[in-house]
């Protein structure tokens, strides 16, 4: 096992990694910008090194500075956390070249999944479901109808040469299909001089469901359950759940097996997440994140697996500490991302924390680098805390989250706590009836109006 790890990140995730290291008896090196000298993880780290000014490119994205810090402090491994350099294949390669362990997958796998085309091709090869539709171009309207019936309406007719929405038509039913077919072809002809079109299922109300896997260097790959991250604003996740309120046990088993098998065949090592759009029982692979996710705590709650310590373990060449048979999904977990932002305009609201009271008690977890007197720098992300709850079932988890949010006190900066409270009291949310478009509309109706 490593004796010293450098944490190439900041905020709550740097603290999360530091906690795992402490518990494993591994010394920690915090690298930070001049704006983060007072950060919690810097204060708690065994060693800390200032690597640059506040600007990301000169500090947290500064590969050379981070590598120098690792060499100088004698760190044997670098944990990149999420964001920043966590999915930067070039950085992972540099780290490998310096005989330092990158706590993540190989640079090849990062590069492979970083290229969306190659990622989809790979997944297809390993039988991970993509958007259902025609295999390539569709010859005539009859075959289009046949395929449409298979994948189910609505369907999308797209120019193979297409892009930018041109040569793209939606058909809600068979009667619309023929017209859509012709319009799409003529548009395609005009736009790209090529009237070849293909057909795929149109996801009009999809959910964002992602699958957590983790593999070791001994060929073991675990499926740790899915997360439903459909509640997003401007592609930023706001509230996540595990398990998804809509999947059946069988669907969970199916997508879990498919994903784990694919990763096993790929020889994927360390933590990774396969993101899918889900609708009407169809899973469509979008992309894979080759790193730890912000929302990993909901998975830790339902699977009882410490993802960060397992990441470190497998990076050190050890086998995963649990087998798939030991993983039993228990109860329901919800995470609320607490941001320092204006509750109406959503503009980030950095500032000095003058009151901070953390909720506590049974089934409540708070991951936050906040402390009273801390000044949130304006240079970085506005997420200041993750509040996560666990309960025997979803209704109880919702009740527990509401209870915890009531107890939480943050003053000095504005937060989105009220937004979470509104979401948790909404009938549709309580029924689990939401798509990736739901939150934007909800905000339009319930927040902007005020």
């Amino acid at each position: 096992m490593f004796t010293k790890i450098l944490i190439a990140n900041r905020g709550e995730i740097a603290l999360r990694i530091l906690r795992a290291c402490r518990e494993m008896g591994i010394r920690t090196v915090a690298v930070h910008s001049t704006a983060d000298s007072d950060a919690m993880h810097v204060r708690l780290a065994d060693e800390s090194v200032c690597i640059g000014p506040p600007s990301l490119t000169e500090s947290y994205l500064n590969k050379a500075a981070i590598l120098s810090a690792a060499t100088i402090t004698g760190a044997e491994a670098i944990h990149p956390g999420y964001g920043f350099l966590s999915e930067n294949a070039e950085f992972a390669e540099l780290v490998e070249m310096h005989d330092i362990v990158f706590v993540g997958p190989t640079s090849q796998h990062i590069r492979m999944m970083g290229d969306k085309i190659q990622a989809k091709a790979t997944m297809k090869k390993f039988n991970v479901p993509l958007v259902p539709g025609s295999d390539g171009a569709v010859k005539d309207v009859e075959s289009a109808k046949k395929i449409a019936l298979e994948v189910g309406y609505p369907v999308l007719i797209k120019a193979t040469a297409g892009g930018g929405g041109r040569g793209m038509k939606v058909a809600k039913n068979e009667s619309e299909l023929e017209e859509a077919w012709h319009i799409a072809r003529s548009e395609a002809k005009m736009a790209f001089g090529n009237d070849e079109v293909y057909l795929e299922k149109y996801m009009d109300k999809p959910r964002h469901i992602e699958v957590q896997i983790i593999g070791d260097q001994h060929g073991n790959v675990l499926f740790l359950g899915e997360r439903d991250c459909s509640l997003q604003r401007r592609h930023q996740k706001v509230l996540e759940e595990a398990t998804s309120p809509v999947l059946t046990k069988e669907q969970r088993q199916f997508i879990g097996d498919v994903s784990a098998n694919a990763m096993r065949k790929l020889g994927y090592c360390n933590a990774g997440t396969l993101e899918f759009l889900y609708q009407d029982g169809h899973f469509c692979f979008i992309e894979m994140n080759t790193r730890l996710q912000v929302e990993h705590p909901v998975t830790e709650f339902i699977s009882n697996v410490d993802l960060v310590s397992e990441q470190i373990r497998v990076a050190a060449g050890e086998a995963l500490s649990v087998k798939q048979n030991d993983v039993h999904f228990q109860g329901h977990a919800i995470e609320c991302r607490i941001n320092a932002e204006d509750p109406i305009t959503f503009v980030p609201n950095p500032g000095k924390i003058n009151v901070f009271h953390a909720p506590g008690g049974l089934g409540v977890r708070l991951d936050s680098a906040l402390y009273v007197g801390y000044s949130i720098p304006s240079y970085y992300d506005s997420m200041i805390a993750k509040l996560i709850v666990h309960a025997p079932n979803r209704p109880l988890a919702i009740a527990r989250m509401k209870r915890a949010l009531e107890e939480m006190v943050i003053s000095g900066v504005k937060t989105n706590i009220a937004l979470h409270q509104k979401i948790l009291s909404n009938e549709e949310f309580i029924k689990g009836e939401y798509t990736i478009h739901w939150l934007e509309r909800f905000i339009e109706k319930n927040i902007k109006a005020c």
Partner: protein, 150 residues
């Protein structure tokens, strides 16, 4: 919805009262409704938590903080990067500069090795070197004071 719009007006009214009366906080509650307007004035006690939190801090951290005093010196030559500082171009050769020596602006006074490349550190102004704050072969972090020129 209309009620909410009315609330907005009330908030504006309350905000004005807050200003005219110099209050820091007004709260009105009625059944399920609550309106609270506040304006933060100075917070004094927020210093102590920081000090508290400092107790958790590692020696190295405190060390780098104590180094911040010379870094504020107008004559301080600050490290532009993290790396290993060298006072001599070669292990054998004599130091580039020494305390008491007069230097020209732009004169190379030190080398910092980062990622196997040696970076020349130049005097930002002419003057006499009054202090050299690091010893050859010592690691330095970004913004750390290397020497003082006065």
């Amino acid at each position: 919805m209309s009620k909410m719009l009315v609330d907005v007006e009330i908030i504006r009214i309350l905000a004005n009262i807050l200003t005219e009366t110099g209050l820091s906080e007004i709260e009105i509650a009625e059944k399920d409704q609550r309106i609270r307007v506040a304006r933060n004035l100075t917070h004094n006690a927020v210093v102590s938590p920081v000090l508290e939190a400092k107790q958790e801090t590692e020696a190295t951290q405190q060390f780098s903080e104590s180094q911040q005093d010379p870094a504020k010196h107008p004559g301080a030559v600050l490290s532009p990067m993290i790396g290993i500082a060298y006072l001599t171009p070669e292990p054998s050769s004599p130091p580039l500069v020494s305390v008491g020596q007069e230097v020209q602006a732009g004169q190379v006074v030190m080398l910092i090795e980062a990622m196997k490349t040696f970076n020349q550190i130049r005097a930002h102004k002419a003057g006499k070197i009054t202090r050299i704050l690091i010893s050859s072969g010592e690691p330095v972090e970004y913004g750390e004071a290397l020497m003082i020129i006065e």
